[in-house]
């Protein structure tokens, strides 16, 4: 490394001794700074792990340490790289920028797919190699069969209702003077957690007509006994629908927003021309709007399908995955964490992964068509 070490360096004549001293000082500094950074960060971590201080102080330290720590790591590693020569800098700097992200992605998502697959080939205690036996079990287990059926219900009803309701709301709002207010209110549940949504709807579905609004209406209208909407044997498997409604309620704002933007993107002349030619509103809707926003409909449906494949919170909190409401994700949790069967649980996770692979391939194909990555 004989090249000037710093961009701001000017070519000054210097004695060889001074040169060597600054060189050694630089190396020491380059090692020293990262080491000190690491020690400071590690001290912060051990403090937080064993902290008995007041919660508020821990909160503040934790937030500062977490956010500041990452910023510091970037600063220091960049400082280190910029101390290198031009040639090395341009070689290393991209890795300072991209490296951490790639490292984390590989650790948290890429490697786990392989590792989980590996574990899925072993028995419950991760000791004996059993080959594909866990997969055989997954596809022959009665509980799993119910879970697959339920997930299918989630996908079909979830996607259909999201598209239909989202489209309906978007079209209605587009023609109303109260568009902004209406959209905001429909949008609101998107800020609510699945657990919160589960509490809200648990109350609405409550068997006691003095608590549960649905039963209050139902008993008043029909004069019949109240029904446990998410549990009752006589309405299975349709009790799943009452769980699906919760997801629709929470996520309708997403479909509405996308459809609303798509509808506003339809050229006005196109609609006008159709109306002049004598098309009524229904024809305009089905013959012009729907084909025009077909891409958005596919996007919304795909998103909902991916989302519902992994649905967990709503089912887990509402019914504890009992009453034949289990889905793939709750079976995974139950097998891996409750039954402690790591091989079987991992096999279920791999099944989930396989289910999303078509979407993954589609995304990668889209990427190939993008300009930036030719």
């Amino acid at each position: 490394m004989t090249a000037p070490l710093d961009m701001s360096d000017h070519a000054k004549p210097a004695s060889p001794l001074a040169h060597i001293i600054t060189f050694i000082a630089r190396i020491l500094l380059s090692v020293f700074v990262p080491v000190v950074t690491f020690i400071v960060l590690y001290a912060g971590f051990t403090f937080l792990r064993g902290a008995n201080a007041a919660k508020g102080i821990v909160a503040l330290v934790a937030i500062l340490w977490g956010v500041g720590g990452v910023a510091l790591l970037y600063l220091v590693s960049n400082w280190f790289v910029e101390r290198l020569g031009d040639r090395w800098r341009s070689r290393f700097q991209p890795f300072v920028f991209v490296g951490p992200a790639i490292a984390i992605l590989i650790w948290y998502l890429a490697l786990p797919t392989v590792r989980t697959f590996w574990v899925s080939l072993y028995d419950a205690n991760d000791q004996i190699f059993v080959g594909l036996k866990n997969y055989l079990a997954v596809f022959t287990d009665r509980n799993m069969f119910t879970a697959f059926r339920n997930n299918l219900m989630w996908i079909v009803f979830g996607a259909t209702l999201s598209v239909v309701l989202g489209l309906l709301i978007a079209v209605l709002a587009d023609r109303s003077r109260f568009e902004r207010v209406a959209k905001s209110l429909i949008f609101l549940p998107m800020a609510i957690s699945m657990v919160g949504g589960a509490v809200i709807w648990n109350m609405i579905y409550n068997v006691n007509p003095d608590i549960g609004m649905l039963n209050a209406i139902f008993t008043k209208l029909t004069g019949q006994q109240p029904i446990a909407w998410t549990a009752a044997g006589q309405i299975q498997p349709w009790n799943n629908l009452f769980l699906i409604f919760i997801m629709i309620w929470l996520q309708a704002g997403y479909a509405m927003t996308l459809f609303s933007a798509a509808i506003k993107g339809i050229p006005g002349e196109l609609l006008e021309a159709a109306r002049v030619d004598g098309a009524n509103e229904i024809q305009v809707f089905f013959r012009i709007m729907i084909p025009y926003i077909a891409g958005t409909i596919i996007t919304v449906a795909t998103t909902v399908v991916i989302f519902t494949l992994k649905i967990f919170d709503v089912v887990w909190v509402m019914t504890g995955a009992q009453f034949s409401t289990q889905v793939i994700a709750t079976q995974f949790y139950r097998e891996y964490f409750t039954a402690q069967n790591s091989g079987y649980g991992s096999a279920i996770a791999i099944v989930l992964l396989i289910a999303v692979i078509p979407v993954m391939i589609y995304n990668l194909r889209q990427l190939r068509q993008q300009e930036a990555f030719r």
Partner: protein
């Protein structure tokens, strides 16, 4: 005005009413559940158990006008006549109207010892609101409530305030860290040339839809070795890992679309990549950063599964969603606590959401789909 324009106007009005009426119906269906929760959270335990939250609106209610013991010679197993109303015991249990339609005669209690009430319908509202639910839910150690009969009862609090702090500790770094890392990466992908750039980006896109479940088993194993289970650092890193593909992808799309010449002129002026990133690209990307920040904030704050898995082993670090879900499991009929607890957990996201809705919508439209 010709007849034609009048009929066209009438049709216009008719479709206006139809559109707005339908929309109102949908909006009500979407709003009422939340309103019900909010109202219930301010009602006492007794009120919630005995009357629906909708009774806060004016409604007709049967009010007792007179109460008396049934006559001793009444044939309680056959058809009885009380104040002109005819019926069996079972019918009187549900209430029988007097022939003049003025009163309802209702048997209260069991057949042998019960009394008879004469009731009349009156307009009523039940507007008894209280903050007790919130003090109990938020309170840390123990908490005292006044019972309807005046006695004081000491009950354990649910420490939602502690859980609220935990949620903050988890959410803020778990929002900022992935943004920081993703912004650097997005800049690198957009403006630097290096070996493996394409492959690395393919990895990002491929991981967009990978289900989280795939990661739990191996990451838990690593955390056990690193002693990270139940720590905040552990969950920050987990949320960072799971949020990174989307964050990098979104920010890359934004940063790569910034005009090339600003960068080039900065380079000519001798600025380094880091300086350009810090002083030029980062400030310019604020809209995209804000969009993703809101996304990640809501996602982490509302997350239950990741918290359950990586913080489940710790009793001190539980976040709001975990506490709430536990409460549903263990005290599923304490609606006064569930409703107020749920509202505490919703408060911050609702504020963030309403103040920054613009950015959120923009993020949605930019293709924010989380794996």
């Amino acid at each position: 005005m010709t007849a034609k324009t009048i009929s066209a106007k009438r049709r216009q009005l008719g479709s206006d009413v139809l559109v707005n009426g339908l929309l109102l119906l949908l909006v009500l269906a979407w709003t009422i559940p939340t309103v019900g929760l909010l109202v219930s959270s301010f009602r006492s335990r007794f009120d919630i158990q005995t009357s629906g939250w909708w009774t806060i609106f004016p409604h007709k209610e049967w009010v007792k006008v007179e109460e008396f013991a049934p006559a001793a010679d009444l044939n309680r197993d056959g058809v009885m006549n009380i104040r002109g109303a005819q019926g069996t015991f079972e019918q009187f249990r549900n209430g029988v109207m007097t022939p003049d339609g003025k009163y309802r005669v209702t048997w209260v209690g069991n057949k042998r010892l019960g009394t008879i009430q004469l009731q009349q319908q009156h307009w009523a509202t039940s507007l008894n609101f209280t903050l007790d639910n919130y003090s109990q839910v938020l309170g840390g150690k123990t908490f005292q409530i006044r019972q309807p009969d005046g006695t004081i009862q000491t009950v354990p609090g649910d420490d939602f305030s502690g859980a609220f702090l935990n949620s903050l500790i988890v959410t803020i770094p778990a929002t900022v860290i992935p943004i920081l890392i993703a912004a650097f990466a997005a800049y690198g992908f957009a403006w630097m040339r290096f070996a493996g750039r394409r492959l690395a980006f393919v990895l990002v896109v491929a991981l967009l839809v990978v289900p989280l479940q795939i990661a739990f088993v191996p990451i838990l194993k690593d955390y056990k070795t690193l002693d990270l289970n139940g720590t905040f650092l552990g969950i920050w890193l987990a949320h960072t890992g799971f949020g990174l593909p989307l964050a990098t992808y979104l920010l890359f799309n934004y940063i790569s679309s910034l005009p090339r010449d600003i960068l080039e002129s900065a380079f000519i002026d001798g600025a380094s990549h880091f300086t350009i990133f810090q002083h030029l690209i980062f400030p310019l990307s604020i809209p995209a950063l804000a969009s993703f920040a809101i996304f990640q904030f809501l996602w982490v704050w509302n997350d239950y599964l990741v918290a359950l898995i990586f913080l489940g082993s710790s009793s001190n670090n539980k976040v709001l969603t975990m506490r709430l879900a536990e409460m549903v499991g263990s005290r599923g009929n304490d609606w006064h606590l569930l409703t107020s607890g749920a509202f505490v957990s919703m408060l911050l996201p609702l504020i963030v959401f309403f103040s920054l809705q613009r950015f959120f919508v923009r993020g949605l439209l930019a293709g924010s789909v989380k794996g």
